[in-house]
């Protein structure tokens, strides 16, 4: 087993520690972070019992491989580059995502392993045809970025597998391949391809996947958000989500919401209506994420507050009634119950010939 160091200790790294991937070849033996996050490092060392050190040399001494998580906290790339340089010099394996590789720019003479696992698109398919996907599809959607969609996917995968189903997961999150998931094709992010082309590419990929790797259910993560947030965040006009909804006939959806202590049942119903009419997706469960968003008038962007479980529990509106199951992401039993509700809906479907 190769000893693996994770850097930095952000929400993506936390996913890997809270939901350890069934690594065949790696064992997480060290954590590293930026120097100013020493308090966080100490806390993680205590919590996970894994050696944690901001010093790049010390941490690389203890590992055979380095996994660099995406820069979701929007920090400087200097330490990323320094770590890559040191790791390459010490002949350590370097794992990173395509997004991070793109952001880091050219890394001369450094061999890296990209965390990217699309399914190859089949040959011989009719280029303009949208094939019917005959496997049930569950969509994991959200209000925007950083609303715990990937964690919800992991729980869905686990619930399905424990029920004896063989799900195939298509993840927007770069960590997906570490959990045996396929990556959404990078073509969906292309600025050169039309919406139509993106729909066909994804449809053909999934059609091929269903033919060659029979599965009971497909779980797909819709990246970003399903709509604008006021007039401050466009969420790229949900282009990729629309493409996915066009490529796959989604049977049922679960929607992640940013934490909001003023959420009402009317809001939830409005979300369901939006998804029904815009995406033809019936949302049958909600998950409240850890993140609360606030617009910063000086930075001119939304800021994410990562609220503790205790604070969210204290502030969750007790009067909230929902048209379908709703659970806080920290309430694992509640989330599993909400997912079970989705599965029950699919199990109740007639198996038409």
């Amino acid at each position: 087993m190769k000893k693996l160091t994770l850097f930095p200790c952000n929400a993506d790294a936390k996913i890997l520690l809270d939901y350890p991937p069934a690594f065949k070849d790696y064992e997480i033996t060290a954590l590293s972070d930026f120097a100013e996050h020493s308090a966080r490092l100490d806390a993680w060392e205590k919590r996970y019992g894994i050696y944690a050190d901001a010093d790049a040399d010390r941490v690389l001494e203890r590992s055979d491989a380095l996994l660099l998580c995406d820069n979701i906290e929007n920090l400087r790339f200097d330490k990323y580059k320094r770590l890559i340089e040191k790791a390459a010099k010490a002949k350590k394996e370097i794992l990173l995502t395509p997004r991070l590789a793109r952001e880091l720019g050219e890394l001369p003479s450094v061999k890296t392993n990209l965390l990217y696992r699309p399914y190859p698109i089949g040959k011989g398919l009719s280029p303009q045809k949208v094939y019917q996907i005959t496997v049930p599809v569950i969509a994991v959607m959200g209000m925007g970025e950083n609303c715990d969609k990937f964690e919800t996917m992991l729980i869905i995968k686990d619930v399905l597998e424990k029920k004896g189903y063989a799900p195939v997961c298509l993840a927007a999150n770069s960590l997906g391949p570490l959990f045996g998931m396929y990556s959404l094709p990078l073509e969906l992010n292309s600025e050169q391809l039309s919406m139509e082309q993106k729909v066909l590419i994804l449809n053909h990929m999934v059609h091929q996947l269903c033919k060659e790797s029979p599965s009971d259910v497909i779980v797909v993560e819709l990246p970003g958000g399903i709509g604008k947030i006021g007039d401050k965040e466009y969420n790229h006009f949900s282009e990729i989500s629309l493409a996915i909804a066009g490529a796959l006939s989604v049977d049922v959806g679960i929607m992640n919401l940013y934490f909001n202590d003023r959420l009402t049942s009317e809001d939830l119903e409005q979300f369901r209506l939006l998804c029904r009419w815009k995406y033809e997706i019936e949302v049958e469960a909600f998950v409240l994420s850890r993140q609360k968003i606030e617009y910063d008038d000086e930075q001119l962007r939304f800021e994410y507050l990562h609220l503790s479980d205790e604070l969210r529990k204290k502030l969750l509106p007790s009067y909230l009634s929902s048209p379908c199951p709703i659970a806080d992401i920290g309430d694992k039993a509640g989330v599993r119950e909400a997912i079970a509700h989705l599965i029950a809906i699919l199990e109740g479907n007639l198996a038409a010939v």
């Binding site: 930095p8 930026f34 120097a35 100013e36 308090a39 609360k292 604070l311």
Partner: protein
């Protein structure tokens, strides 16, 4: 009797308008309808008997008062802000200054403000403050550290120690350093250092030599203008691109000729790349009345008129003065608020107070915490903790919820949504009471009503809300 429907009427030359508190909207009404609302406002007609109100309610405005509690919406998240999202750290590195400016709030001319003192922040205090800050900014991607005084450059060695410490201990976040200085200690060695570390600098300069030296003097009584301008010339020669990161801070005061000062700045080649910020001498707590002469008032009114003409597309915005910068920003803020039409929630507070710590954390020489550098350091009310105790959440929440001091009044005040009252505007002894706060209410209402009236007049001239990035802002 409690007010059920809360609104405010006002007129321009052309139209009668009503401001609806519930949707934070302003709309014009035909004369007859406007007059009926005025009758309701004067108590001559009951709201339930008004046909106009009934009609407007059907369109979603003038709804019944829903406010049940005055509480700042950030209160429940205060613990989170304090633990993870501290904003700008301001270190009071010294209380001493090498100048004795006539209008300085630390010069003994203000009640409840400290005076110049030979107090200096120890390195251990600064280090603890920085560590405290770094431990509580994990959700931030940018750190802002400012150095304050007195004259902060008197403690230049300490500033260098702080900068070194921070840069050694921060790898991921962008760091912004800033300082306001009287400009007299900007030797080449100091300037080289500040330039190398990308400091954002504000230099206090009040215009021509005559305008500046009338107030801003060394302790010897000699004016500081020549010293400052020499340093500025040196900066321009050694680091010409640094000038764009330097703001010139001018304190408008009764002894200066504002017009001369503005002309001087415009003509001065060394200041051509700099930004100008104008502030007025503080009046709150001043022991002597501050009176401006007519030419000064006239000049400000003239510049204000130019701003209004620019908003009405009758004058190029480039022709307006930096004197009006804060007015422009405020106007935009008011207009953008009106544009939203968001319904009033049942739990709300007036604007004005920032979230203590989240916006700024001011650390005094001896390690006491305050929400910013503007508040009185001698007031227990404003002290929100210390390095030894941490940030006292109860005290921070009390500051944030200053609206609760006048909760009953605020629930029925038409200006609840426009009010921007911060407790620093309120004159009080010990702990503030309702009477103290209410004295400022009238000013806030007058300001908001003036803003609303002017926005409507501008609208009549075709002024539309500029988009973000629009030059007209």
């Amino acid at each position: 009797m409690a007010k059920d429907i809360i609104f405010k009427t006002f007129r321009t030359k052309l139209n009668g308008y009503v401001y609806d508190r519930h949707t934070h909207s302003v709309f014009a009404l035909p004369d007859a309808e406007f007059e009926e609302l005025q009758r309701v406002e004067r108590g001559e007609l009951l709201p339930e008997d008004s046909i106009v109100i009934a009609m407007l309610q059907e369109q979603g405005v003038l709804q019944k008062n829903v406010v049940t509690e005055i509480k700042h919406p950030s209160t429940d998240y205060l613990s989170h802000y304090i633990a993870h999202r501290l904003g700008q750290l301001i270190l009071q590195v010294t209380q001493q200054c090498n100048l004795r400016c006539g209008y300085c709030c630390y010069g003994g001319g203000y009640t409840h403000m400290r005076v110049h003192a030979n107090q200096w922040m120890e390195w251990e205090t600064a280090k603890r403050a920085i560590d405290f800050y770094l431990e509580r900014t994990d959700e931030r991607d940018t750190l802002t550290i400012s150095f304050y005084g007195g004259e902060p450059l008197l403690a230049f060695p300490l500033i260098k120690q702080c900068v070194s410490y921070i840069t050694e201990h921060v790898e991921g976040k962008e760091i912004h350093f800033s300082m306001t200085t009287n400009g007299t200690l900007l030797t080449p060695e100091v300037v080289d250092y500040l330039y190398e570390h990308h400091f954002h600098l504000s230099i206090s300069l009040d215009g021509t030599k005559e305008d500046h030296d009338v107030n801003r003097k060394f302790r010897s009584g000699q004016g500081s203008f020549d010293t400052i301008m020499n340093h500025i010339r040196e900066i321009k020669e050694a680091h010409p691109d640094f000038m764009k990161d330097i703001a010139i801070m001018t304190t408008i005061n009764p002894k200066m000729d504002l017009g001369c000062a503005m002309d001087y700045f415009e003509a001065n080649e060394y200041l051509a790349d700099s930004r100008f910020v104008y502030n007025s001498v503080a009046t709150k707590g001043a022991k002597e009345t501050i009176n401006y002469d007519e030419p000064s008032k006239l000049l400000r009114r003239y510049e204000y008129l130019k701003l209004l003409l620019a908003h009405a597309n009758m004058l190029d915005i480039e022709c307006t003065s930096a004197l009006m910068q804060s007015t422009r920003a405020h106007r935009m803020q008011v207009y953008q608020g009106l544009y939203q039409h968001t319904p009033l929630p049942s739990v709300i507070s007036h604007g004005g107070p920032c979230v203590p710590g989240n916006k700024r954390l001011f650390v005094s020489v001896d390690g006491a915490f305050f929400p910013c550098e503007k508040v009185s350091e001698t007031s227990e009310y404003f002290c929100i903790g210390s390095l030894d105790e941490g940030i006292d959440e109860e005290k921070a929440a009390r500051l944030l919820n200053c609206g609760q001091i006048t909760a009953d009044e605020c629930k029925e005040c038409w200006n609840l949504r426009g009010c921007m009252m911060c407790m620093n505007q309120v004159d009080f002894e010990g702990m503030p009471c309702k009477a103290d706060k209410c004295k400022v209410c009238a000013d806030e209402k007058f300001r908001e009503l003036s803003d609303l009236r002017e926005i409507c007049v501008l609208h009549e001239f075709g002024y539309d809300l500029p988009q973000e990035g629009d030059d007209r802002t």
